[in-house]
């Protein structure tokens, strides 16, 4: 296309008073109109409104524009709005440029003249940039709606139940011979904030009965390759051939382990004291009741919090509640039992939990805040030694001490992470994409992590996360619908590639790979999210970011910093 066939239209939005009051739009229109290659410059009160959108659409069509520049608000607000209007009006949406003159000019600069000058230079830069744009086409990809869930604990089951339908098969791979994971072991005492045992059992039964959930017991996932919409999975089954599955998405729900308190001598493991973990109490309660080594029922117990807290370096958050639950259990069975709760911190994550502490205090449970605690003793007595809040060293003699070990990453975490190229956080759990805005997502699109695999949490949170992951998959992986991968991806100019593989080391999404035979790198467009890491790091300039080419950026910057005179 030669330059004189360009018909560039510039539309300036007043954004009500937002832009109109802070910028001399008349001067902008007057100055920009003189700029070469600009066909029309128009202003509108509110381009994002219904009438505004209609005006833009009709005007682009009537004027027969080839390129559109809109000077308005942040691209976060309306870049897509106006791109869609361009598309509807027959202009490729990548031959359009949105310029943010609201947040970056009108709202920033008090002096109206200075703000106006900045708007003019921004629009000039945008116009220069758009001249170097190329039409880009949205590609479509076939996908499979089926999902692989790794781990048959409560998070895995919940994901599977939410996802499975007649149009979507779920493959649930469990390394043990039963479903339910840790939550499935709870029967005697249920930690507060958990589902009742009956609900867990019914969820397991539902998963087993669901014809669209295929459970592989005693099986492990050997490899997962591919990308969102198209993963290929190999599952190793006992006494059977490996099975190859095609899925569109993967949910990791590989759970957790508990800190081994015998790794330190602080908790009396190794001495002859009566010390049990919360899980041991659970198991004993399930099989007839809690008794001491000599077969008698304890008359006094100490609940010792934070076993392994210092060793692992973080608070697991849910263990406090499990100890309080145990206090409730003993008080309901033996109202006269003496209970000491010895804690450094008490994690209360809901108003109900605060209330529960008050109730337990009324029932005679003694809560003591301590700074240092250890357990010693012999078969006849168990001694809890601690330093109280005043710095005094004290001891309590009890029949039984119960400790709540920290939640630590599941043993399979490194292997699963390596298989999928997921990152692991400082503590060894899977790392979420973003703590707040993507707590169940990973750096690999289409791969989700739920439950304790991503960090300590209660059953309710695990279930909620499983539902969130399922919801995300349901909304994006619709049976029969094609996927629309990112358009503004990177591409390798093979003739310039030296094969140094720097791009492979810097890609966060695993989109770049090295072709050993042709000795060049390549970008998988289905995985690439257009972040530009590879582009910036390629010393040879052999990778181009579509829509952010060096030429486009160079010309845009050059125009932005040029003098205010019309440079052409």
């Amino acid at each position: 296309m030669s330059e004189n066939t360009y018909k560039i239209g510039v539309y300036i939005c007043e954004c009500g008073p937002n832009i109109a009051d802070a910028v001399d739009i008349d001067r902008v229109v007057e100055t920009i109109s003189k700029y070469p290659d600009i066909f029309i410059v128009k202003r509108h009160k509110l381009l994002c409104s219904g009438p505004g959108k209609d005006f833009l659409h009709e005007d682009i069509v009537t004027e027969g524009l080839t390129h559109v520049v809109v000077a308005a608000c942040s691209p976060k607000d309306h870049e897509t709005t106006f791109a869609n209007i361009c598309k509807k009006s027959g202009v490729n949406p990548y031959l359009y440029q949105l310029i943010n003159i609201r947040e970056q000019c009108a709202w920033m600069i008090k002096d109206k003249e200075a703000a106006t000058d900045k708007v003019i230079s921004y629009i000039r830069a945008g116009v220069r940039r758009v001249k170097y744009h190329s039409s880009l086409e949205q590609k479509e990809l076939e996908s499979t709606p089926d999902v692989l869930v790794v781990g048959g604990g409560i998070a895995g089951i919940e994901s599977a139940l939410n996802l499975a339908s007649t149009e979507r098969k779920v493959y649930l791979v469990e390394k043990s011979g039963r479903l339910g994971g840790t939550a499935g072991e709870f029967e005697g005492i249920m930690p507060y904030g958990s589902l009742s045992p009956e609900i867990v059992k019914s969820k397991i039964a539902d998963a087993q009965a669901n014809p669209n959930i295929e459970v592989f017991y005693d099986s492990i996932v050997e490899s997962i390759i591919g990308f969102f919409g198209n993963f290929e999975v190999t599952v190793v089954r006992p006494n059977e051939d490996n099975i190859e599955l095609k899925v569109g998405s993967v949910v990791i729900a590989t759970g957790f382990e508990l800190f081994d308190p015998s790794k330190t001598d602080k908790y009396g493991f190794g001495s002859k004291a009566n010390v049990m973990t919360v899980r041991e109490i659970e198991m004993k309660a399930k099989t007839g009741g809690v008794t001491l080594a000599d077969g008698t029922t304890p008359k006094s117990i100490a609940l010792v919090h934070c076993a392994g807290r210092d060793e692992v370096g973080y608070c697991s958050g849910v263990c406090c509640n499990s100890l309080l639950e145990i206090a409730d259990y003993f008080k309901s069975k033996h109202p006269n039992i003496e209970i000491h709760d010895v804690h450094r911190n008490l994690c209360k994550t809901s108003p109900e939990e605060a209330e529960r502490i008050s109730n337990l205090e009324e029932k005679g449970v003694v809560f003591t805040r301590v700074s240092d605690v250890s357990i010693n003793g012999d078969s006849s007595k168990t001694i809890v030694e601690y330093t109280d809040s005043k710095g005094t060293e004290k001891t309590i003699d009890v029949d039984l001490a119960i400790i709540a070990p920290a939640i630590i990453p599941g043993e399979d975490t490194p292997q699963v992470a390596q298989m999928l190229d997921l990152t692991i956080d400082d503590f060894g759990f899977f790392e979420e994409e973003h703590l707040m805005t993507g707590s169940f997502k990973t750096s690999v699109d289409g791969v989700f992590v739920t439950g304790c695999a991503i960090g300590p949490k209660g059953i309710l949170d695990s279930v909620g996360q499983a539902q969130s992951a399922a919801g995300n998959i349901l909304s994006r992986l619709v049976p029969g619908k094609k996927l629309h991968p990112e358009v503004k991806t990177s591409e390798v100019i093979e003739s310039l590639c030296t094969g140094c593989q720097t791009c492979v080391t810097v890609c966060s999404y695993g989109a770049t790979s090295y072709d050993e035979i042709r000795r060049v790198s390549s970008v998988n467009e289905a995985i690439c999210r257009g972040c530009g890491n590879c582009v910036g790091s390629c010393p040879s300039g052999a990778i181009r970011a579509k829509h952010f080419t060096e030429k486009q950026l160079f010309q845009e910057v050059l125009e932005a910093i040029a003098s205010s005179e019309i440079s052409g």
Binding site: G313, D426, A562, G568
Partner: protein
């Protein structure tokens, strides 16, 4: 951008003493011939005198007639050895074993290129020697006979004065990370000491039947002494070049005579792009734009991008620059470009405690990233304020 903690190679304590009554070159060639005869390697890559007798070229050969003309330590560095080895193994490892005899800075360039996948070191036995420096190439080609004499006199008298500026201040002139190193400095009695520093090096010496049993301490202490002396002369030289180029005006002045021939880029062993950004059309402007810029600034220099070219190359090369001096040797207008790059390279490399080419196992600093440490180190921001991190 993690710091490399183990950049320093450990100096081996023992070597094999080989008689060298006729000098270094015949003794080393003798050993290389044994290597070929025994089949340990099939060919040797080394500098061979060109037929016109006025320069050296890298030759891969096993022929005696060519080995006769070889000089393992020629007076000049023509093509940087790392570049020669790269052109040989860029497209994959050699299936046959070869030996490459190169100066320490050439070995270091080769190691950097291996990290950048531009050299495959599999089946390559790297042999280096204590390097007395190299003469400026222009001085040599003007009068090769005198050049040979000047070089051998300088080596005899431990005189670095006639050598190139970067050689005079070189602090990595001895063992770096080859498989085998030829020690000469501090080795007395018409001998050389073959010091193996890898399993490959050891098995080669086994193959050619020499015993590694001579104490190498007189050599290593001589190297240590010389290195200290070089460090102080380097410090002085760096201060001078920084003074000369400090500030935009001075820097621009030093580079103002650049004729944009890009020789420095072409001869640089680690400048490995297929096509330089500055030889692409990305930063070219339209005639109108040049006119407008000239009007705006009062004047513009054409062709453009002299400063940007050097700064761009500097930013690309600074982590891997081995201060080999090739760029300065190739500069037709005598810009002290190697001295500038070396001074800047030292600074940026020391930020990451990285010495390019010292160990094949040290990753390129800009390819690795440690969130906690680096945010603290570089940005002075703690990635996890609650937990804190080592450097606080």
């Amino acid at each position: 951008m993690e710091k490399n903690m183990k950049a320093k190679t450990v100096t081996p304590s023992k070597g094999a003493l080989i008689p060298a009554s006729n000098g270094l070159n015949p003794a080393v060639l003798e050993v290389l011939k044994k290597g070929i005869e025994s089949g340990f390697f099939s060919a040797v890559l080394l500098p061979v005198k060109v037929p016109s007798d006025d320069s050296y070229a890298w030759v891969l050969t096993s022929q005696d007639s060519l080995l006769e003309k070889a000089n393992v330590l020629p007076p000049v560095m023509t093509v940087q050895g790392g570049k020669a080895l790269s052109s040989l193994t860029k497209h994959g490892a050699s299936k046959m074993k070869i030996a490459a005899v190169m100066r320490p800075c050439e070995i270091r360039a080769a190691i950097e290129l291996a990290k950048l996948k531009q050299i495959d070191l599999e089946n390559v036995l790297l042999i280096s020697m204590d390097c007395p420096g190299a003469l400026p190439i222009q001085n040599y080609v003007d009068n090769p006979i005198e050049g040979e004499k000047n070089f051998s006199d300088a080596v005899q008298n431990d005189d670095v004065e006639p050598m190139r500026p970067t050689c005079k201040t070189c602090t990595h002139f001895s063992i770096t990370s080859p498989d085998l190193h030829i020690a000469t400095m501090g080795v007395t009695g018409d001998s050389i000491l073959l010091v193996p520093s890898s399993a490959k090096g050891h098995s080669f010496l086994d193959e050619v039947g020499v015993n590694v049993e001579t104490d190498a301490s007189s050599w290593s202490s001589e190297i240590e002494k010389l290195t200290e002396a070089r460090k102080s002369s380097k410090q002085k030289a760096v201060a001078e070049i920084k003074e000369q180029t400090s500030g935009f005006a001075n820097f621009a002045e030093v580079l103002s005579k650049c004729i944009s021939c890009h020789n420095c880029m072409s001869v640089c062993p680690v400048c490995y792009c297929r096509r330089c950004y500055f030889e692409s059309d990305v930063s070219e402007l339209s005639t109108e734009q040049y006119m407008a810029r000239s009007a705006q600034k009062g004047s513009i220099r054409l062709s453009q991008d002299v400063l940007l070219f050097h700064l761009g190359r500097m930013s690309h090369m600074t982590m891997s620059c081995v201060s080999c001096g090739s760029c300065e040797d190739a500069c037709p207008v005598d810009i002290p470009i190697a001295q500038i790059f070396s001074a800047v390279g030292d600074d940026s490399q020391s930020l990451f405690e990285y010495i390019p080419g010292m160990s094949p196992d040290d990753p390129l600093p800009l390819r690795i990233f440690s969130k906690d440490k680096e945010l603290c180190d570089i940005e002075r921001i703690c990635a996890d304020p609650l937990k804190g991190c080592d450097s606080k």
